[in-house]
Every structure is written in structure tokens, then in C-alpha cells.
């Protein structure tokens, strides 16, 4: 993996040397230099903090709502019938349409939260729905015969079934939340966010900065994702009671 990254960095370096125009393709070294000078400014950390908070909040809200709504859908067929077309609609609508609509509906400060929430919700919903439906029917029958209570059933039967589905849908939703969240910031331009910096880098043709911000988004998305996945894995392990049902 490390060797592959090194190879592509070399390709990038060679390509930028061949082109010879930083405005068109800055070299990796120029991007690193830009990043180094950016991190020394307070506004960098402010933008990172703002975007992280807003996009992260949107993800977490989408996660919570997706799990909750899918649980209700599995439990009550009427909720399932009502939510199915709604989730399909949210999933199929282009993110740009939502961004424009959201600019009308909500304050641009919360735009990335709203967009991130909308992108995450249907993905988590369908993952949770499939996971809960995948619960072992024979174990559920056993639980019914033995009168196993709701929470014990959740922890011993539903949660282990849900875990792989929820983790894979989270991984998918994490990437989507960052991509759509930053896109929303670029269009809505809330003050002091990564999206605003990215937009400014574009209009002032500061290509090394543009590349550096892109690198920052990739790193943030990766780190945030790792944190969430590890947190979920730990929570699932503790909750599923591997060792004790209570």
C-alpha cells in the first residue's frame, strides 16, 4: 500500500514537472508547502473545527435517525410502508437539488449538517433494516418460547445480526457525508468552513492550497471514519453482551 502511494506520488511529481505550470498541476512538494503554511494559521483550525462539527453532527443525526426509523419499520409494517417511498426519494434525489432547496429552507450555517444528514439517513436506514431482518428466525422462536425479554433479545439476537450490516453501511455513509457536506459548503459558503476556503482557493487560483484542502478533507474523513467505526465496534461488543446477557 505504502509503495503504491509512493509510486503515484512520483507519477504526480513527474507529471507536474512535465507540465511545468503550477497553476495547472502543482507538485506534491508545493502542496505540502502550502499545507505547512496553512496549518500555522488560526483560520485553518477554525475552518477544520467548524466543518468537522457540522458534518459530524449531520452524520451522527443521520445514524441515530436511520437506526431508529429502521427499527420502527421492522417492528410495524405500516411504518415500513410509509417510509419506503420516502427513503427511496431521498436516496434518488441529486445532492445538488437538496443543496439548493436547503439554502431556501435552512440557514446556510447548518447547510452541511442538513445535507450530511440527508445523505446518511437512507444508507443507514436500509443497512439497519436489512440487518434486523437478518436476525436468526430460529433464535427468535427460541426467545419467544422462553419468554426472553425485549432488551435481552435485542442484545443477544438482533445486535449480532445487525452489526455487520450497520458497520458496512456506516463506512459507505461516512464517505458520502464528507463529500456531500463539503459540496454543500462550497455552494452555501457558510463563513469559516472548509468549503469556503476551498471556494476561495478556486477563485484566487491558489492551486497548491486547493490541493492541500482536498488532502485535509480526505484525512479528516478517514480519521473521523476510523473513530466512528471503532466506537461502533466497541459499543456493539459491549452491548451484545458477549459473556453475559445483562
Amino acid at each position: 500500500m505504502a509503495l503504491a502511494i509512493l509510486f503515484w506520488l512520483l507519477v504526480w511529481q513527474v507529471a507536474s514537472l512535465v507540465i511545468g505550470q503550477e497553476l495547472f498541476l502543482p507538485s506534491p512538494l508545493a502542496v505540502l508547502r502550502a499545507l505547512f503554511s496553512m496549518v500555522q494559521e488560526q483560520v485553518f483550525w477554525l475552518s477544520v473545527g467548524n466543518s468537522l462539527l457540522r458534518i459530524g453532527l449531520g452524520f451522527l443525526l443521520g445514524l441515530a435517525a436511520g437506526v431508529l426509523l429502521a427499527s420502527f419499520s421492522v417492528a410495524f409494517s405500516l411504518v415500513d410502508t410509509l417510509l419506503r417511498p420516502l427513503m427511496l426519494l431521498v436516496r434518488s434525489t441529486p445532492v445538488a437539488s437538496f443543496i439548493i432547496l436547503a439554502l431556501v429552507w435552512v440557514n446556510s450555517r447548518y447547510l452541511s449538517t442538513f445535507i450530511s444528514f440527508l445523505m446518511v439517513l437512507p444508507v443507514i436506514y436500509s443497512g439497519t433494516y436489512a440487518g434486523l431482518r437478518a436476525a436468526d428466525k430460529s433464535l427468535l422462536e427460541m426467545a419467544a418460547v422462553f419468554h426472553v425479554g425485549f432488551w435481552r433479545r435485542m442484545r443477544a439476537i438482533y445486535l449480532p445480526a445487525l452489526r455487520p450490516f450497520l458497520l458496512s453501511s456506516c463506512e459507505l455513509a461516512l464517505g458520502m457525508s464528507w463529500k456531500s457536506g463539503v459540496a454543500a459548503e462550497v455552494i452555501g459558503l457558510p463563513v469559516g468552513t472548509i468549503g469556503e476556503r476551498l471556494y476561495q482557493a478556486k477563485i484566487y487560483l491558489m492551486m497548491p492550497e486547493l490541493f492541500a484542502w482536498t488532502l485535509v478533507i480526505i484525512l479528516l474523513s478517514g480519521l473521523f471514519g476510523k473513530l466512528i467505526i471503532q466506537g461502533l465496534k466497541m459499543a456493539a461488543k459491549n452491548l451484545s453482551g458477549e459473556g453475559a446477557p445483562e
Binding site: V145, I157, S240, E242, G243
Partner: protein, 216 residues
């Protein structure tokens, strides 16, 4: 505690009638055994008695009590330990008894703490037995509960069930007539797909209609 009475119960899965007008009485507090070849409908009878299926015709009475069961399959939660699988069906106050029960059936402390997915077939069977015997209830159903156990463990398990049953009604489903004899069970042969009238002459006309689970 009341007798469990099945009165002319018929059950079909799709086109296939598994049970046709089956009538039987399982006496309260006693051991009844259902014998017969595979596919005769013995497990269907157990599922009807446990309330997991509804009859297409006929009535079942006296079965609306708390039950415990060893299914044909082990039905253990793979991620839970042997001990936790039993604890899952018990109130907290009964948990200390679980380790002792598992030890009686040959489990070491380490084995009791192994996740069910890492237990051998015989160990899984014994965990399912402990779970059924330790659980509270008035009716205990054992569906081929001793299959896959070696002679020594089988004897231990039979003794454990005899001791642990208390005054519960026990419905034993087995291929093996010797197993029914060991428990001193009143046996009934279930031939495949035919009308069966078991449990003695007194069965007819004594169905308790106050708490019946019927096809309607």
C-alpha cells in the same frame, strides 16, 4: 397444572398434510413420549403445543402455560458463552445455579466461558439441555434432545433431566423407544400422515374448552 389435550388436530404446510385429526392427552406432571419415524409429524406436534404453530383444524387446550424446550437444533446464540446462553432465559437470581448445572454435565470452568460457536456438537446439546431444564415453566418439551451425545454424557444428561424436571409435564420426542422407557414415559406411536388417536380412551370428550388454542 392441567393436562394438555390435542383434539382432532390437523396441520398442513402448503399441500402437505403433516398431521391429520390427531388426538392425544399428555397428562399433567407426567412424562409422555412421542415415537415414530422422521416426517411423521412429531416435531409439528411439539411446535403446536409450544404455540409456535396454529392448527388448521381441531383444538389444543392446557398448553397455554410457560414452556421450555430443547429444539431439534441447538438454537444457541453463537456469540454468547455457554453460561450466558443459559442465563439469557433465566431471571438474574437464578444465574449462580447455571455454572453448577453445567458442571454437572461435564463442563469445565473454561468450557462454560467459551462462546457457543466454539463448542463441540455434544457440548452445544448439553447447553441446550441445561437451558431448558433450568428455565422456569410447567411444560418441558425435549425434541431429540439426547442425539449426538456419547453414552457417558447421555446417561449424565438423562439423570440430570430426571432430577431437574421436578413436577413438570415432560413431552419427549424421540426415535428411540429405550429413551422413552428410561423416563418411564407413556408412549405413543405417531405414524406418518395418518389419523392418530392416542393417550387413551378417556381422551375423547374431555377437552377443556376454557383455554383452547383453536384454528379459528
Amino acid at each position: 397444572m392441567r393436562d394438555i389435550v390435542l383434539n382432532e388436530v390437523t396441520k398442513a404446510y402448503g399441500e402437505q398434510t403433516v398431521l391429520r385429526e390427531f388426538t392425544a392427552r399428555f397428562k399433567a406432571g407426567e412424562v409422555s413420549a412421542l415415537l415414530g419415524p422422521s416426517g411423521a409429524g412429531k416435531t409439528t406436534i411439539a411446535r403446536l403445543v409450544l404455540g409456535l404453530e396454529r392448527p388448521d383444524a381441531g383444538t389444543i387446550s392446557g398448553a397455554d402455560v410457560r414452556c421450555s424446550c430443547v429444539f431439534q437444533e441447538d438454537r444457541l446464540c453463537p456469540g454468547l458463552t455457554a453460561e450466558a446462553n443459559v442465563q439469557l432465559v433465566l431471571p438474574h437470581a437464578q444465574w449462580p445455579r447455571v455454572a453448577e448445572a453445567l458442571r454437572e454435565l461435564g463442563f469445565t470452568k473454561e468450557d462454560a466461558q467459551k462462546q457457543a460457536q466454539y463448542l463441540s456438537g455434544g457440548q452445544k446439546r448439553r447447553v441446550a439441555l441445561v437451558r431448558a431444564v433450568e428455565a422456569q415453566g410447567e411444560l418441558l418439551v425435549l425434541d431429540e434432545a439426547f442425539k449426538g451425545l456419547d453414552e457417558e454424557n447421555r446417561e449424565k444428561a438423562v439423570e440430570y433431566v430426571k432430577r431437574g424436571r421436578g413436577g413438570r409435564t415432560l413431552l419427549l420426542i424421540t426415535h428411540d423407544p429405550r429413551e422413552a422407557e428410561t423416563f418411564g414415559a407413556k408412549s405413543m406411536y405417531v405414524p406418518p400422515g395418518e389419523k392418530v388417536w392416542g393417550g387413551g380412551e378417556e381422551t375423547r370428550g374431555e377437552v377443556d374448552n376454557n383455554s383452547e388454542r383453536s384454528s379459528s
